[in-house]
């Protein structure tokens, strides 16, 4: 991870702080400190970004605002990207409008482009391997042992080469084989409606927020969602069913719980779970935990997970080297919930929402597949 990226993502939450230099006994350092404070105070950006809600989707548009939200805690997802909204950059490079390397010759590759190149390499390798395997089978049936040995040797070399290739830096791979950048041919393939003029294209991407993320930003940092007050937003997220066991509130409790313990929380649908927990964020490392939110009893609006389903999820999660967490949310009584809800509807402030959420409790357990023969150490 480069220093530049570390700096880009230095805020885990949308809070701006003033970094003061070390103060010593030397009075000059006091002045230096004061000067730094004043300077940073003036530079302090307003980082609260407003959210639009339409057609059931919470969005942030415009690359400046998207980056603001993404860079302060990796909230949201670019709808045309794997996570960080990079569609405009990628598309401009694909259409040959921007170079692939920066002035200092550094490769400007996004996550998506890396994945694409690696997948293509793997595909090529598999085709070659299949070809050799077909030959192997042919020689096996004809009993031509010398040819068979030759082909088997070729296959071994191919597999070795592929291992080498996987370790090879992308930069070299691209220099040798690819013309990802500057492909004017792609321009003719692309939709002409995409172009504003010869060198500019429309930005079709927006950042989509999960409902829990929208409520989190609004509740804790004062982001506006359309012109809803906090209670109206809460109602919207709860799908207008204001019940103590509504699945949204259970999800939100868990999201907020891990967020406030410093984890980066993203959607876990990819791995059949509710959330993924990253120690810092997606650009830095893979997620360590997959979270499955469990009510303390079966809620009215969702079927509970059967053993067979938890077993399937645990296999998927285990297969990608993550640990499965079953996070149980203990609910308050209906009366206590109703009382706090009424207070919240009368005064839709963060304080009253906090009073409501404080009625819930969280417990977590690790779920791991256990094999008697392999776990006897």
């Amino acid at each position: 991870m480069s220093k530049k990226q570390s700096k880009q993502y230095d805020r885990p939450l949308p809070i701006n702080i003033i970094n003061l230099p070390v103060v010593t006994h030397n009075p000059i350092s006091w002045i230096w400190c004061l000067g730094s404070y004043v300077k940073q105070w003036f530079q302090l950006k307003q980082s609260v970004v407003d959210i639009q809600y339409c057609d059931g989707i919470f969005k942030v548009s415009g690359s400046h605002y998207m980056n603001e939200v993404w860079n302060s805690g990796f909230i949201g997802k670019g709808i045309l990207s794997r996570s960080e909204p990079t569609w405009l950059h990628r598309t401009r490079r694909r259409l040959g409008l921007d170079p692939l390397f920066d002035e200092s010759g550094r490769l400007l590759l996004t996550n998506e482009e890396t994945v694409q190149i690696r997948r293509e390499e793997r595909k090529k390798f598999k085709l070659k391997r299949e070809e050799l395997e077909a030959q192997e089978n042919y020689f096996k049936t004809t009993g031509d042992m010398t040819s068979l040995q030759k082909v088997t040797k070729l296959k071994r070399i191919l597999i070795e080469d592929n291992k080498q290739l996987q370790r090879k830096p992308l930069r070299e791979l691209i220099m040798e084989n690819y013309s990802v950048a500057g492909d004017k041919k792609e321009q003719t393939r692309a939709d002409s409606a995409l172009f504003i003029d010869e060198t500019h294209i429309k930005d079709l991407e927006y950042l989509q927020l999960m409902p829990v993320e929208a409520l989190f930003l609004s509740f804790c940092f004062g982001s506006k969602v359309n012109d809803f007050d906090l209670f109206q937003l809460f109602q919207l997220c709860m799908n207008r069913s204001l019940e103590v066991d509504n699945s949204f509130i259970l999800l939100y409790m868990v999201y907020h719980h891990y967020k406030s313990h410093g984890w980066c929380v993203k959607s876990g649908t990819k791995f059949g779970s509710d959330f993924l927990l990253y120690r810092r964020g997606p650009p830095f490392q893979h997620a360590e935990f997959a979270v499955l939110v469990q009510p303390d009893y079966k809620p009215s609006d969702s079927p509970s997970n059967e053993w067979i389903d938890i077993s399937a999820i645990s296999r998927v999660v285990g297969g990608v080297n993550k640990t499965l967490l079953l996070t149980y949310v203990t609910q308050p009584t209906k009366d206590a919930f109703q009382q706090a809800l009424t207070m919240f509807s009368e005064s839709p402030t963060p304080h009253s929402l906090r009073n409501l959420l404080e009625l819930y409790h969280i417990d977590e357990f690790i779920y791991r597949r256990w094999l008697p023969s392999r776990n006897r150490a």
Binding site: F271, D309, A312, V316
Partner: protein, 280 residues
């Protein structure tokens, strides 16, 4: 004739020859016995072979050379359900076939038990606990009438008969398509299906039954597809086209379970296979 001993409503086979014969029919079961000297090991399991309920049912319905032998509990249930007339008939059949095996020439017409006639052999139903038991009845279990009653008893022991029948029909659909089937919990399904003997092939399908035209959560479907693709398999959801009304069919099941289950197998099973599309 091969015996299928039942223990606590489950097929539990100790006889090696029967295990071999079942394997030839595509019935795998799973070995569950451990070694007396190292009871904690589970890599080299031996007899008894446990049968899935679906496997047991499949063998009994489709292969008349196999018959169920009850355990004590099941036998008590059977004995309690018999009328005096049933008992006389069973005794009659047993004696007649015994005479036949001893070399007596008896015409087929004489083998049919006639209730009009004065019975030749009498056994009055006895409620004292130590008289009839599994051992004294050993020769009677292969009679079709007894098998019918035992099979019905077995079906009644299922906690959810409608689901069990659906599971069975899916099992039978797969078996008839040449697949070998084992339990699938470790892959998040009800069954795992192999294109041939599991000792020779990797499995192809993870099968999840959908009951009574219910809907399946897309979340589970995506998860199943993802898991299956990761282990080079396909995730299959399977269900019956026609709904089975369990309460409505119980009289038919009691009368002749084999016949009725065979007739259910004629109605189609719908399957869809899911796998990752390779992008996205």
């Amino acid at each position: 004739m091969n015996k299928l001993p039942i223990s606590r409503n489950e097929g539990l086979i100790f006889d090696i020859q029967t295990i071999k014969n079942l394997r030839l029919l595509g019935i795998v079961g799973y070995l569950s016995g451990t070694l007396p000297l190292s009871t904690q090991q589970n890599n080299f399991l031996g007899v008894p072979l446990r049968l899935l309920f679906e496997e047991l049912l499949y063998v009994v319905v489709h292969h008349s050379e196999y018959y169920i032998v009850p355990d004590d509990v099941m036998f008590q249930g059977l004995y309690a359900s018999l009328t005096n007339n049933d008992l006389q008939q069973i005794q009659f059949q047993a004696k007649m076939s015994q005479l036949r095996t001893n070399g007596k020439k008896i015409p087929d017409s004489a083998m049919i038990y006639n209730t009009e006639k004065e019975p030749v052999f009498h056994e009055i139903k006895n409620t004292s606990s130590h008289l009839p038991n599994v051992n004294t009845w050993n020769d009677h279990f292969n009679q079709p009438e007894v098998q019918t009653k035992l099979l019905f008893q077995l079906l009644q022991s299922r906690p959810n008969l409608s689901h069990s029948l659906a599971d069975y029909l899916i099992f039978s659909h797969l078996r008839k398509n040449g697949y070998f089937i084992t339990a699938g919990l470790r892959f998040g399904g009800k069954f795992v299906a192999y294109p041939g003997d599991p000792l020779r092939y990797h499995s192809h399908l993870i099968v999840k039954p959908v009951y009574n035209g219910e809907k399946i959560e897309l979340k589970k479907l995506v998860n199943g597809g993802r898991l299956a693709t990761a282990v080079k398999k396909v995730y299959v959801i399977a269900g019956l086209t026609n709904k089975i009304d369990v309460d409505g069919v119980e009289p038919q099941l009691e009368l002749d379970p084999k016949e009725f289950i065979t007739s259910l197998e004629a109605s189609p099973v719908k399957t869809f296979s899911f796998e990752w599309a390779g992008f996205g």
